[in-house]
């Protein structure tokens, strides 16, 4: 019942990630509870995580003698070999997986926001079912993936179906208010969550759980994906971008309510005025959707239907009758199912325990709530209807209207002239009043409060661009962002300026029609540069700057070709700016390696690859993981580095440069020692097994591996390593330094 196999049908994987990526697309923090040893990781690597484990397990057992015979870094190596073999079944899917997976999660992170505003009686009903957060918490996980295909029509009129469409439900009461009790910024929180994940999961989370494409490049580590997801969901609603603003407001009452229509009116009024009204920078023209929740166990369905008909008469088509059972569901009930986990948790939610890590520890007691299957079906149908029949048409309609009324004015020749003359007029007068502030601007920007009023053309255009972005019409989005980005600069609305530049570049990169030849990478780079400068220097908004740069890294990397180099450059820039903490630094070191590794040599010529660079960064990442006390991750990186270097080194796998060689040897040794130390008993158990299988192994590995030298020298090293672990713990950077003075 509690196995993830039950949970998967609930959360279909994104359309982009078939096969192996399915494993990686699961929330990484599910691993620790389920897997105690690294051995079982192989079971996951073989992709049958969601199915019955026997087959991969036996494969692992068969592999065991070889694995245990070697040091850890070599056992990693063999696991890679195994993976390469096992993933051959789906070579081309595999190739697309890694970057497509990241791309898909970036796309899904910019999904429409729907506020949920439920009456007290509704929340009471849902709380009885075991959801403390009320109705919002109940439907939130289901919104992340709308079941079935969602067809969206773009501005030209062509439709496209998306399988991985989702919406984000937020609590109406929380919009525009900073999360309470936050003493540290989101970046510090992300860092904290990361180190928590690292520590809690120890080495089971280990870097071995990687998606790899056919060439074996690491696409993403779970940690890295988790980092990105947290980063993308950490930004609260802000004036300068409308992704966090509600597109629709779901107003819910239950059948228990004595005066339903009155309550609905009250809830509606709350949105407009009332003490819970939204910040003034949010456009009030959002869709209102009315939901009546019928309590299946206490109330009469005929009554509810009558009320529902009445609602439909009053409010039109945007209504839904949701039938739920009011009693709490427990595991043992028939038809019970686990509520899917939220994929998009902000770092503060991770920290406050909404995350699943703790729940998994005492799994089965009360950690994850359960739900009746009928309820889940009802909620899913409700969300589908809400999205497909109301939200999407509403957004399409809005985009079309704004495109007609606001954007076309700007596009035409007169519009260009208007904005130009305005600029010149502003320029003329700015000589006198430039110190005053908003000279040369349109005057719609309020420089004291730092936002445009929501009905000004600038704000509407930004909203239109965001809408078309969320509708995945990147072409329209990028042209709209492009149109308005300089306006914000003229108005000195720096956050808007940064946001428009950022999203313009992102939508250009996401637009599948613009091939890498057509799109000018220079201009994209320039836009990221500007966005980043505006965010950081002008607004000192580090979270947004980091988001911008991370998007730049991931999207440029997924472009491939020469774009990967600028991706690597941006990743280095992130580290350079100090936007990330110590764990983040290592993650970005890994990203740089991954960026370089994904640049493959063009054509028949051997040159054009960046294997040496990738290898170097992997080595550095290994070094840093080791220093951070994560030998498992270090050995994964080391393994990666050796694989990357394999092509460029001579057949003996020895680095031509003496000091590099000694550094690498020391690193290998230190990783091995630390790793064995970390799992003390293993260190003593392993040596005996090794002698029996060692010859067999060397003969097996000779073909492709270039580490013959380390293989031969290994038994001795391993013994000393094992001894060392029991006696003196070694300083991770000690050995490397010692030897360098000698060398």
């Amino acid at each position: 019942m509690t196995s993830p196999g039950d949970a998967t049908p609930v959360k279909p994987p994104p359309s982009f990630s078939p096969g192996i990526a399915r494993v990686a697309s699961k929330s990484p923090s599910r691993y620790p509870g389920e897997h105690e040893t690294t051995q079982s990781l192989d079971a996951e690597l073989t992709g049958s995580h969601t199915v019955s484990p026997p087959t991969p397990l036996s494969a692992t057992v068969a592999e065991l003698p070889i694995r245990s015979s070697s040091s850890h870094s070599r056992s990693e190596r063999s696991s890679t070999g195994q993976l390469a073999r096992s993933s051959i079944g789906s070579p081309f899917d595999g190739r697309a997986d890694g970057s497509e997976d990241i791309r898909s999660s970036i796309i899904r992170s910019f999904s429409p926001t729907i506020a949920v505003h439920a009456s007290e009686d509704t929340d009471d009903l849902v709380r009885n079912k075991g959801f403390k957060g009320g109705f919002w918490e109940l439907i939130r996980p289901f919104g992340e993936t709308v079941s079935g295909k969602v067809v969206i029509r773009d501005s030209i009129g062509s439709s496209r179906a998306w399988e991985d469409y989702g919406v984000r439900f937020i609590n109406f009461k929380g919009i525009g208010k900073a999360p309470a009790g936050q003493d540290s910024g989101p970046l510090a929180q992300i860092e904290e969550v990361l180190s928590k994940q690292l520590n809690s999961s120890g080495d089971t989370l280990g870097g071995t759980v990687r998606t790899k494409d056919v060439l074996g490049f690491p696409a993403t580590t779970p940690l890295c994906k988790s980092f990105l997801q947290q980063l993308l969901s950490s930004t609260p609603a802000a004036p300068h971008e409308t992704f966090g603003h509600p597109v629709a407001n779901v107003i819910a009452i239950s059948s228990r309510n004595p005066s339903p229509l009155e309550t609905l009116r009250q809830l509606y009024a709350d949105g407009a005025t009332g003490d819970q009204h939204l910040p003034t920078w949010i456009n009030q023209e959002y869709l209102r959707y009315y939901v009546l929740i019928h309590d299946e166990e206490r109330d009469d369905i005929t009554e509810s239907t009558k009320l529902y008909d009445q609602m439909k008469r009053h409010f039109g088509l945007h209504c839904h009758l949701l039938r739920l059972r009011s009693s709490q569901c427990v595991v043992t009930d028939d038809d019970s199912m686990q509520v899917p986990q939220c994929e998009w948790l902000s770092p503060s939610e991770h920290l406050s325990g909404a995350g699943e890590a703790e729940a998994l520890v005492d799994l089965g007691t009360d950690g994850t709530p359960y739900l009746f299957g009928s309820d889940a079906t009802g909620i899913r149908a409700f969300i589908r209807e809400l999205v497909v029949q109301s939200v999407i048409p509403f957004m399409e309609n809005k985009v079309a209207i704004w495109n007609d009324q606001v954007a076309s004015k700007r596009r035409g020749i007169s519009g260009k002239f208007m904005s130009m003359s305005r600029r010149w007029a502003g320029f003329g007068s700015s000589s006198r009043s430039s110190i005053g502030g908003s000279a040369g601007g349109s005057g719609n920007y309020d420089p004291t409060q730092h936002f445009y009023s929501p009905d000004s053309p600038e704000a509407i255009l930004r909203k239109m661009a965001d809408f078309s972005f969320m509708l995945r019409d990147w072409k329209l989005a990028s042209s709209t962002y492009d149109m308005i980005r300089s306006d914000f600069g003229n108005d000195k609305a720096w956050k808007y300026h940064a946001g428009a530049h950022e999203m313009c570049a992102v939508s250009m990169l996401l637009n599948p029609l613009a091939t890498s030849a057509k799109i000018k990478l220079d201009s994209v780079d320039q836009m990221f540069e500007t966005a980043c400068y505006s965010y950081l220097t002008r607004c000192s908004d580090a979270p947004h700057a980091l988001r911008c740069l991370s998007l730049a890294v991931e999207l440029l990397k997924s472009r491939g070709g020469s774009a990967t180099e600028s991706a690597a450059k941006w990743a280095m820039r992130v580290m350079d700016f100090g936007l990330v903490g110590s764990v983040g630094q290592i993650l970005y070191t890994e990203r740089v390696a991954a960026c370089y590794a994904s640049k493959t040599p063009g054509g028949a010529a051997k040159w054009g690859g960046r294997r040496r660079k990738a290898g170097m960064w992997s080595m550095l990442a290994a070094d840093q993981w080791l220093k951070a006390g994560q030998p498992t991750l270090a050995s994964a990186c080391l393994e990666e580095a050796e694989r990357l270097y394999a092509d460029v080194l001579q057949a003996d796998g020895v680095f031509p440069m003496p000091e590099m060689q000694s550094f690498v040897e020391n690193l290998r040794h230190a990783v091995k020692v630390e790793y064995l130390e970390a799992r003390g008993f293993d260190a003593r158990d392993e040596p005996p097994a090794e002698d029996s299988t060692a010859p067999e192994e060397t003969s097996e590995k000779l073909d492709k591996r270039h580490h013959r030298r380390s293989l031969v020298g290994l038994p001795v090293q391993l013994d000393t390593g094992a001894l060392n672990t029991t006696q003196e713990p070694r300083d991770p950077d000690g050995p490397s330094n010692d030897d360098f003075e000698r060398a």
């Binding site: 054009g608 040496r612 031509p656 360098f740």
Partner: protein, 211 residues
Amino acid sequence: MAAASKATSFNSSTAHLGLNNHFRLKMSYYFTILSPTDTPLFNIAFGTSKGGGDGIARFRFPETAQYMNQFIIHSSLDILEEAQWTNGGMYLKHIDTYPPAAAYITAFLTPSGARFLLLHQPPHLPSSTSTGSGLGSSSLLGSAGSTTRASSSSIAANPTSPQTEEAVRQFMNEVYESYVKTAMNPFYRQGMEIKSPVFRSRVTAAGKKWL
């Protein structure tokens, strides 16, 4: 890759740009000759002798410089392999940058397949008193970097300026001449490490003269 990296922390750097231009930068250099199989034939680390420099290399991260310099040079071979086909000359100029250490790589090809690689690194600026760096915030400003470059006349201040490229060209040419003569030594076979003290002293002299 051409964008220069930055030296100081992001926020403090812009304020000090343009100050202390008289402050001489002591560049550190690491020069390597690589055989066609990437084996190092010759290594030398030295510092600038111009403007009162004492000719001793002071790398930014002295504790890791030993192997990092080699890593950086080794990784730049990726770029070198590409550049040697796209660039017509023997002197390939500045080919690669390693931003975290602000290390710049310049390369020179020889007919025998040996490559000369010069890593140059402006010094780490310890505090706000010495921020005359032309690198200050150019990584962020991008195009604006060129304006800050002009402020410093010292070749060492900016590893990608034409003056520096020219100086390195002279250095490379001079080393090349010595290298050819060393390679013509009857006791020298190709691919052997160059141990000749004469060659070493000539390289040192060339470094003193040009860099």
